[in-house]
Amino acid sequence: MKPQSEQREAPSIEKPHGIPDGWEPNILAFACHYCAFAAADLAGVMRLSYPASVKVLRLPCTGKLDYIHILHAFERGADGVFVAG
């Protein structure tokens, strides 16, 4: 049996510090294609405004989501992860 060779690099997470002025949380949303992604579309159609630091990643279903996806986002510097489905 082969060991899992693929390894991530050391993390680049900053240490906790105070919240500077004008700071916006960097948020990644995992959205189900059929509902939450459609809802995100609808938000646009209705011209609802939300911070531009929110980015949406489409999944075929939130059941596809793996813990490691969430953790990976945090390790890469996400301040929040939003799962919607």
Partner: protein, 1009 residues
């Protein structure tokens, strides 16, 4: 078999684009027919698009219907003609000629990209029909944001240019040059083999009931207005507010039967849906605002559908909904507060005044206002209420051959029954036009796919301006600049409208010139445009899965208006994510499997026989399996329907027809012993040893009449069931002179552990009561009931029974009637809630209205076909609203009492629907499997069975070696297996872990300057 060229046309006209028409159109177009859909409004969607949520599951209405609309809009074999109406119809079944008048839209659909710039700039505001007057639209508009087609239309009556001769701002705004003020519409001549009518409904105009104050008191709204109020995309964004002052009402009242069950002032029929939608609205209102106190004023709670009673119980117990049995006589407004004072008679007869912050009128359904002219155009008869005339044994056939009807034009009904009838008419049409299948459909030809094996990614990026939709917020050129040097990218450009015809050609040219092997388009949502671009790159010789769409409009420019910097930065990230994924995409094969064009129908009752006949008429061989010696099932015990149809005659005819049909083989005394396989390729062994290979299966295992032990049924010969009474009436034994009959409703229904309505018993009792009274007016008939549920047009018979002198006395579940035996008579005591005292009656006969139970074989059969059941033991359909005859496992369908208690006409509709749905499978030579499926790596798999247990589609299974294997044919690509697999043995194509991780990296990477 030699195919004789058919004289019948292979195309079908569907008149009406609501959910019923859409279902019929999709079923037909998916099974080899060309469909013309004529829709009066500028968009399809009908009534369902206006609803917020649906009962009893609380699913979002738009979320369910929107993908269907997109599917209809994109279907190669469905042509939508809108806004349009049929002018004339000539010819007969198999060959009609139809003239259609398409009204001018003043926007050229071939040029319009649906970007909506014109609408944004149009200066003229008009009260929105879609928002029921609670919001505004423009003079150039789409009916609602998700409209299909999304070509805008100019409302000539309100357009400044048409009214005053100047403005034309839309024309100036439209970069695609799609505005055409000279549009005069056109007339089409269509040749079709069959016609389906589904024009939908109107709602009762409650302004006619001045005492309710609609239109006068601002805080009195209709139920449809309240749907819009509840809707998150509605005028109040889902906040429960009053129109008068925007305050949150604390107490909200619903008034039922507004415009229904009222032969004197309004419509005599029951609208069938209001009890449930009011319950739903009361629940959702509380979910939106936990302070709200909800009261529903009603006469009878008609929760007759599957799981409806449970829903009402939940509303009472979990959501605090108060159900007050009372008639509201008048509503008055307190001008100071805008509150509303309701006066009603409480159960003890005392008049009560109660104040509410808001009142919702549960308005009933009625035929479209042009229903009479409409019927004239098509040459069909209507009943006295202007609904299309049908019968309980031919529920979707109009009086003119070859013209069918579905949905509320046939009678008031809810969404699943409309969808069911949509599939039912499709089934009827398939049977009528079976031989013409495939004669008029079109298919698209593509060039061969280029082999990309071993190539490094060469990704092309096309960033769309979408006119100014994207470009006014996102600096498109900056995006192009930022991504052009990303790994894998060899070409990046911007484009005015990526989806326009010329851009598509440009895209193809560049793919070839630059030898691209991945394409990313950054424009709008993949939900509507992915297929379009996939087709384009396929046309350029690429595998269509080597594409990704970055949504920088809906999810970027439109929600970050006025934030150019931030929006541009985000757009760069979004495009970067798509590129990162595209680089890792691989060409996918869409596998295909053959289909055995044979149907298995389990159950030889009326549902099974109807489905079998429809499928056999469609041209498929059918194996019909019946566990008993005779066909006919439960219907053999019935003599007449409520409407008076002769059931025995009908049943005999059906049985003869089945026996005589050359394509139907009947297996009597047989049951399913085991089964295996998947859609298109099942193999089932019967208890007789016969082995049947089939492509689809319909489970119509039927129901049973409940055998009571209540109310001395086992102790006295004078206590009988409705079925036994029906026999006595038929043989002339009942009614004897001056006999007294007492009937008790809901015996064995609507109480634990059988907390559901058996749906048929109220009509059964009324049918027999009428028969008794008609044969002998001196007979006394008294019906003890909990709620009389003569929904829809059946209400007529309830009224007739009362007119004939049948007495109705209500009882409550915690105070049931008491029965004792006295020599040759029975003494029945019950509490009369009207008189507020105990009633004692001596009766000659006590008749029990016993409900229905699922047949005991349902469980066993269900297990074999992996068909789930609800807690009451009835089969659970794939989706209670939009897939009422499907199971989650494809190729398996349900019909009749096995699904839920229902009346004969409903059983026939459902059986036809199951046949229609099965026809969509059996008519195909092969079934193509989407490339987006989960791939299973057997080397990594530990056969832990996690996937087998969680997969909603049963695609992972235990194979002959006793290990987990995966059937991609059944897979829908949802990836739940991949999420749970502890060995990472599953990866979903195009959503592989490496692709997702790469996208996360890209999303989190600092964008290049």
């Amino acid at each position: 078999m030699n195919k004789v060229p058919s004289k019948k046309k292979g195309s079908v006209l569907v008149v009406g684009g609501g959910i019923g028409g859409m279902q019929a159109a999709l079923d037909l177009a998916d099974s080899g027919f060309r469909v013309h859909m004529v829709q009066r409004d500028p968009s399809i969607g009908g009534t369902m698009v206006m609803l917020d949520k649906t009962f009893p599951t609380g699913d979002c209405s738009m979320c369910m219907i929107s993908p269907k609309m997109v599917e209809v809009g994109r279907h190669l074999n469905i042509d939508i003609h809108s806004p349009a109406e049929v002018v004339s119809v000539e010819g007969g079944p198999g060959d009609f000629s139809v003239r259609v008048r398409v009204a001018p839209r003043y926007v050229d659909p071939d040029k319009c990209t649906g970007c909506g710039d014109c609408e944004a700039k149009c200066p003229k505001k008009v009260s929105s029909e879609f928002e029921q007057g609670l919001g505004v639209r423009k003079a150039i508009y789409s009916l609602f944001p998700q409209a299909v087609p999304n070509t805008r239309a100019i409302d000539r009556k309100n357009c400044l240019y048409f009214m005053k001769g100047r403005c034309r701002i839309c024309e100036k705004t439209c970069k695609a040059g799609a505005i055409n003020f000279q549009d005069e519409g056109k007339e089409l001549e269509l040749n079709v083999g069959a016609i389906i009518l589904c024009p939908g409904l109107d709602r009762y105009d409650a302004r006619a009931r001045g005492e309710f104050g609609l239109g006068r008191w601002k805080n009195v709204v209709t139920s449809v207005q309240f749907e819009r109020i509840l809707s998150a995309s509605g005028p109040y964004k889902g906040e429960v507010k009053r129109p008068s002052d925007g305050k949150h009402p604390k107490k909200v009242a619903w008034i039922q039967c507004v415009g229904s069950r009222d032969p004197h002032n309004a419509n005599p029929w029951c609208s069938s849906v209001c009890c449930m939608y009011a319950t739903k609205q009361a629940i959702i209102a509380r979910e939106h605002d936990s302070e709200i106190e909800q009261t529903i004023f009603y006469m009878e709670m008609r929760a007759f559908g599957k799981d409806f009673d449970k829903y009402v119980e939940r509303a009472k117990n979990d959501y605090g909904v108060r159900y007050q049995r009372a008639m509201i006589s008048v509503i008055r407004e307190d001008p100071a507060t805008g509150d509303l004072l309701l006066r009603y008679a409480a159960e003890d007869g005392k008049l009560v005044d109660e104040t509410f912050g808001m009142v919702v009128l549960s308005v009933g359904l009625e035929p479209h206002r042009d229903a009479v002219e409409f019927a004239g155009t098509f040459g069909i008869e209507t009943n006295s209420y202007r609904f299309a005339k049908t019968s309980s044994i031919e529920p979707v056939r109009t009086t003119r051959d070859g013209i069918f009807v579905t949905g509320t034009y046939q009678g008031p009904k809810d969404i699943p029954e409309t969808v069911m009838q949509g599939s039912a008419v499709a089934g009827e049409v398939m049977a009528l036009l079976g031989e013409a299948r495939g004669t008029e459909t079109i298919t698209k030809e593509f060039p061969p796919e280029r082999d990309l094996t071993g190539e490094e990614p060469r990704t092309g990026v096309f960033v769309c301006h979408c006119g100014i939709n994207i470009a006014s917020t996102v600096q498109v050129e900056k995006v192009v600049e930022a991504v052009k040097d990303l790994p894998g990218v060899v070409y990046a450009t911007d484009t005015l409208y990526a989806c326009s015809q010329d851009s598509q050609e440009m895209l193809k040219k560049i793919v070839r010139e630059k030898n691209l092997n991945r394409v990313v388009v950054a424009s709008c949502t993949p939900r509507t445009h992915e297929l379009l671009f996939q087709e384009t790159i396929r046309d350029a010789g690429m595998n269509k899965y080597l594409f990704d769409l970055a949504d920088i409009r809906e999810q970027c420019s439109w929600c970050h208006m006025g934030q150019k910097e931030a929006a541009t930065k985000k757009a760069i990230r979004i495009v970067g994510m798509a590129i990162a994924k595209a680089n890792l995409l691989e060409p996918l094969k869409s596998d295909a499997v053959g289909v055995t064009p044979v149907a298995l129908v389990v159950g030889g009752g009326v549902a099974g026989m109807t489905a079998a006949l429809s499928l056999a008429d469609q041209g498929f061989r059918v194996s019909l399996v019946e566990k008993e010696k005779e066909l006919g099932g439960l219907l053999r015990n019935l003599r007449h329907t409520l409407e008076g149809d002769d059931v025995r005659e009908f049943l005999k005819g059906k049985i003869d027809e089945v026996r005589a049909h050359e394509r139907i083989k009947v297996y009597n005394d047989a049951e399913v012993a085991k089964t295996g396989g998947f859609v298109g390729n099942f193999e089932t062994t019967l208890t007789t040893g016969d082995v049947i290979k089939h492509g689809a299966v319909i489970l119509a295992t039927g129901g049973m009449e409940y055998q009571p032990d209540e109310y001395l049924y086992n102790d006295s010969d004078r206590v009988i069931t409705q079925r036994e009474l029906e026999g006595r009436i038929a043989s002339g034994k009942s009614p004897g002179t001056g006999e007294c009959y007492v009937m008790i409703q809901c015996v064995g229904s609507r109480e634990e552990p059988n907390q559901y309505c058996s749906r048929i018993c109220c009509q059964d009792a009324i049918k027999n009561a009428i028969a008794l009274k008609e044969r002998n007016p001196d007979a006394q008939v008294l019906i003890l009931y909990r709620d009389i549920r003569t929904y829809g047009l059946r209400e007529d018979y309830y009224r007739r029974a009362r007119d004939l002198g049948v007495l109705f006395v209500r009882y409550e579940i915690d105070n049931k009637p008491l029965v004792e035996s006295l020599d040759n008579r029975l003494r029945i005591r019950t509490w009369d809630y009207m008189l507020n005292r105990e009633l004692t009656m001596d009766a000659d006969w006590l008749v029990l209205s016993t409900g229905l139970r699922p047949h005991p074989t349902t469980g066993k059969t269900g297990e074999m076909f992996k068909a789930a059941r609800n807690p009451d033991g009835y089969f659970l359909e794939a989706h209670v609203k939009l897939r009422p005859v499907d199971f989650p496992g494809e190729g398996i369908f349900v019909a009749g009492l096995a699904h839920a208690p229902k009346n004969l006409d409903e059983t026939i509709s459902q059986a036809l629907a199951a046949a229609g749905r099965a026809g969509t499978v059996l008519s195909r030579k092969s079934l193509t499997v989407s490339g987006i499926v989960a791939k299973h790596n057997r080397d990594l798999c530990m056969s832990c069975l996690s996937c087998v247990r969680v997969c909603p589609f049963d695609s992972p299974y235990i194979d002959e070696e006793g290990r987990v294997a995966h059937n991609e044919i059944k897979c829908h690509g949802c990836g739940i297996c991949a999420g749970i697999c502890p060995a990472k043995a599953f990866q979903v194509n195009s959503f592989r872990d490496d692709q997702i991780l790469a996208m996360i990296d890209a999303a989190m990477a600092e964008g290049k300057k």
